[in-house]
Symmetry: D2
Subunit: 121 residues, 4 copies
């Protein structure tokens, strides 16, 4: 888009979404319940790209695959930011909290090598 | 976490993830195929919070619900940033492209009110 | 299809799938991992039909919606039977076991009315 | 369960579900929209079992994995039969229709070997 400026951060994305949604009168569709459904559908569209590929193929950096993946990732990000806005949740603060929890839950010295988390089912 | 500093942006999240994953030797599990699966599983855990609630209940800003939703959103963001890193995709640039496409696909003057996108199935 | 006979049961579906897959040499794609991904993608396509509808609209028995839902349900059933075959799991026996567990987990006299399961999050 | 009789078919599962749900007064939660969400969540729990496994590991017929997979498959089947009931859709008839479509969409002589469906993304 000729006159677009680069998206700077999640805050800008949130603000631009609000304008986009309001201009279309789509707020009434955007309950957290519905947005969660839409988010999961976009995540599934990402999964679909990889379902018949081997892990190696999925990591092969094929140009066509990366382009399609970028679109699906953008869709996931879209609804992620939108639902965070609807629930008034700060995504980066939530990520910060999650980091602290994961550091405690998976101490490097204990899970390293054996990769416990990944071996149990 | 007492000594944590606030997460500034997606770039910082990506860099901290890389260190976290490397310290645990988890790279070998993180093919795009596997990360897409994990992303969709986290999205489903968000859906699970809302599946038996009405839309109104989902939007009621209940404190317990918001706290649990924040955790799931953080998990989705985690794998979203991780898979974008694995595929070398710039999330904000992808979001920018998606905005341009959506502006064309859903012109405000045409979809407003009738909300075409939401009425067709 | 003029000469098709009605599918009698899950066993017949399984047998016909095996022939269908073998005739196309698709076995190598059908690891349980891949089939689980495909199953979840089909489930998401079902979710997509309902994501912007109210619960009432979803239950309105619209002919077009029912036709599309039938296709998605068939796709889910397809991969469900296929993965059960790959893992040598008897679906009806598993359903029987689940019934017994759910009877114990949710005693009618205790959950009735208050619907505990559905109120907690 | 000592006095259980083997589940014979999907029709019996549907009838027993109806009694189970009615005894708990859970009908009001079971709109097609909600049931589709629940179905996708159960599908994701299946995906979770396999997300960090290789395809080979997923096919290794490990006893613990098969037992957990059987539970998740039963949960998927549960909601699949339940939503089909809610929408008055005959699952086996839908599977029959899907077979006819797939025979036309993927003619064995054309897709065999090259496995076109699985190579495109």
């Amino acid at each position: 888009m000729a006159d677009s400026v680069a998206m700077r951060d999640l805050e800008e994305l949130k603000q631009r979404q609000r304008a986009f949604v309001a201009a279309r009168d789509w707020q009434r569709f955007h309950s957290p319940k519905n947005l969660a459904m839409a988010l999961s559908v976009e995540a599934a569209e990402l999964v679909e790209l990889f379902q018949w590929l081997t892990e190696e193929q999925s990591a092969a950096q094929d140009a066509g695959l990366r382009r399609r993946a970028a679109e699906e990732l953008a869709d996931v990000l879209w609804f992620l930011v939108r639902i965070a806005d609807a629930l008034d949740i700060d995504l980066l603060a939530a990520a910060e909290d999650k980091f602290a929890k994961n550091e405690q839950k998976y101490p490097a010295e204990r899970v390293r090598g054996q990769a416990r988390k990944y071996d149990e089912y």
